[in-house]
Symmetry: C2
Subunit: 534 residues, 2 copies
Amino acid sequence: MEQWRSIEESSLWEAMASRPAFDLQTDLSHASIKKRIINAGGGLAYSYATMDIADETIDMLCNISQELDLQGQYRALLSGEIMNSGEGRMVLHHLTRGEPMGSVVKNGRNYGYFYRNEQKRIAAFSAKVRSGALKTPAGKNFKQVIQIGIGGSDLGPRALYLALEQWARERGLLKLKASFISNVDPDDANAVLASLDPDTSLFILVSKSGTTQETLANEALVKAWLARHGLNPSGHMLAVTSETSPLAGNPDYLDSFYIDDYIGGRYSSTSAVGGLMLSLAFGPDAFASLLEGAKEADLLALEADAKKNAALMNAMLGIYERMVLKRPSLAILPYTQALSRFPAHLQQLDMESNGKRVKRNGKSCALPTGPIVFGEPGTNGQHSFYQLLHQGTDIIPIEFIGFKKNQTAFDPDFEGSSARRKLNANLAAQIVAFALGKPDPNPNRFFPGNRPSSLLFGEELDPRALGALLAHYENKVMFQGFAWNINSFDQEGVQLGKKLAGSILEPGNLKAESGSTDKLAHILDSYAELLGAI
Amino acid sequence: MEQWRSIEESSLWEAMASRPAFDLQTDLSHASIKKRIINAGGGLAYSYATMDIADETIDMLCNISQELDLQGQYRALLSGEIMNSGEGRMVLHHLTRGEPMGSVVKNGRNYGYFYRNEQKRIAAFSAKVRSGALKTPAGKNFKQVIQIGIGGSDLGPRALYLALEQWARERGLLKLKASFISNVDPDDANAVLASLDPDTSLFILVSKSGTTQETLANEALVKAWLARHGLNPSGHMLAVTSETSPLAGNPDYLDSFYIDDYIGGRYSSTSAVGGLMLSLAFGPDAFASLLEGAKEADLLALEADAKKNAALMNAMLGIYERMVLKRPSLAILPYTQALSRFPAHLQQLDMESNGKRVKRNGKSCALPTGPIVFGEPGTNGQHSFYQLLHQGTDIIPIEFIGFKKNQTAFDPDFEGSSARRKLNANLAAQIVAFALGKPDPNPNRFFPGNRPSSLLFGEELDPRALGALLAHYENKVMFQGFAWNINSFDQEGVQLGKKLAGSILEPGNLKAESGSTDKLAHILDSYAELLGAI
């Protein structure tokens, strides 16, 4: 991976990084709001007028993105080059929703065909469940679907489900209500099970490797629970896994659907990992529409000019905030309750992808990489942590998300306006309050302003808009990883904890595998003892 | 408030801040784990052996806490002095669970008596509802309780409810299942209402002022929904408010319970704001036990020696991380799914309290104050953002929370261990992995270590432990505010957005109230238009 450079090695870096600051209070103009908007696909637009970065700096960021050939790297990824360098893998999640650079055929397999064929199988299977053609062993209709998975098998699918649950209910499409079991804490599984009717429950076990500790432990618990209720687990369970895993084609499951190593967990929502649950819950058409929206965003991300490429622009502005303005975190603030868990998905997507300290060429990163990502829906956050965003000692860049319409119809006027108008008036007000602040002789009531934000907005949060939103962020994070010259597609940082936990549960492991010193073993023992784990 | 100084004005500050770094990999010893533990009340203990701060530095932090008289300020607060200086108010939330410094009698009122008398009224009322003595107008038993509130009327109560829901269910105490409506987004209320049986629902409207926009809009929506179902809202609604609000003693509610201006929203979980819902859901005894645990923590916080005062030690260590080591954020990572929303509560508690840039004497803070707070339960987070915590370019201090026992009994062994043992083995492993790291010739697999954490742990998450946990953090945040010499009890930073939102909804307001320029009005209009809010 010697051919790629990182952003601080580009010829324009020094000049760009030393450009004067942009003061929103003096430099923001009414006119720039209309100028700084980019189509983001799926009916969404990306507005970045209130980012504290001058036009000339943005021009230079655009030039840098071309010099670093971020576009070329995206095209290489789409074409099936080994972009997950450390693990020697292709990165193919885009193929779940289209083939922007044509077919990827390797090792005798057409990958786009493979992923989309699984979607066809899923569509047919979910149609049968939803229509009642496929029933429980006792002849009942399935009424709930429960996803058992962790990390990427949980956060993205859960965020997408919650994003569309009311949309689907309102339209009569919600046939199977979904629940999620993720944590190895048995109180998690027991809480979910307490709300279920075992006779009509359909579980999806999601583990690419078929060896995820949490997921297998939860499967065992769920199987014991089904057996307690006199049910045969194999009539109530599906698997999503890779073809080479122990779960594949296993008669313990009603059916199995497949993914592979070229789709990382946090990028797997548009594969069978998200597709099976979403198709069962909302129907295959809704899921197809989500894929269409994602495809639109993927195609727009091919545009070389960052000023016409929302994901690329968002990526470059974020890099500037992180590296030049030294801002360590990013708030994602959706003004819709439906996106209540979308920030948690982006927290994984971004922090697991770009929380790296080594470049693709093995050298250490001298400058900061991925930020901390956090967020809650507005207006709730306004009554919580916005105090610090407005008047704290640090500046935290914000990405707002908003929609013009509700998902549900019932919205009576109160004091002269609908709740929707109140919600969006608050969003508009916050953007302006952060940017412009407010002078006040009382220092407690002084708002410094100059706090940057951007806005992704659309008409309505429907499956197509949601697909575009998801892909926008996947592509943004990807472009940032390219610009930092890090591998956004591995996660070596999760291994050490796993290994040490294993050594507590099976004490033979520690000395054998991790090259432990006695000191480490002693300290590990002490904590395991404090917590009653040995 | 001229009598107080901030930490960088203390005589030991320079000496303390210039002390050598503490290297966990070389300096952490097995012995220190037993030495660095403090009783935190409610059966909890605070372990800080893996904080990257040397013993001598900690000694100096302890001395500084005495020089700044943080204890004296706590005692003053408990005694009813005006510690919310900007708003000229006392800060009395501790009195909801005890009177560590004796009665506070002012303006002809004994405040401890007042708060605890409301709790008695709540206990009697909830016992009647739970026993079925008090029924719906149609003669049915109430089966669900729904809290309508936002910010402190939502986050703390919701976090506490979720923390005990399985505990109570397992013990047959869960009589009314609770739901929460908070966001002004009508999709939030409609989602909750879709899951309810209107005939057996009991709503609690929580607004201290009786004027919170979101809460009143949601009340209007809920009342219209009840009316649609042919029900009289006044037979299905309670109010928690102040005695002077329009909601007080109002025949629109079945009953009203009271708080006052001396309990801030984010500190109100142990008042009627949390108490009514929790007592209805779990019974008055469970809530009384939560108060007992909180009282234990409050009493322990009176200890002058920080080495025996968990909240004070936690506060001082956090200040060192923030001000000396310049770490802008803090991860709260509970290893129990029951605390899934506890980090969101602490996000408000900490960021709204200490996200300030002005001291109590009106001078600007030259050094950083409150950090960004975020977190999710483990092991879920391990499969999400821990990658960045282990291998990112920034160091993020961590506060872990763990318990030895489950809340629920069903926990079959799988592969030789219970899920509980797996969970706690993971927690012990993470503490050690962050502290010690791991050498590796492959730079992608190298773990730098030296990443600090602390651990609050106990036997079981029951009401008493939860009360102590809540109070521990309230007191920690309070001590930090004292040490920064900021007012942790106001939230002026929420006002500007409110005002600007009002000016969109009622255009007369803008020019009248906020001293707006035409530019601000133009920009506000543009965003309101983009979002369809005008």
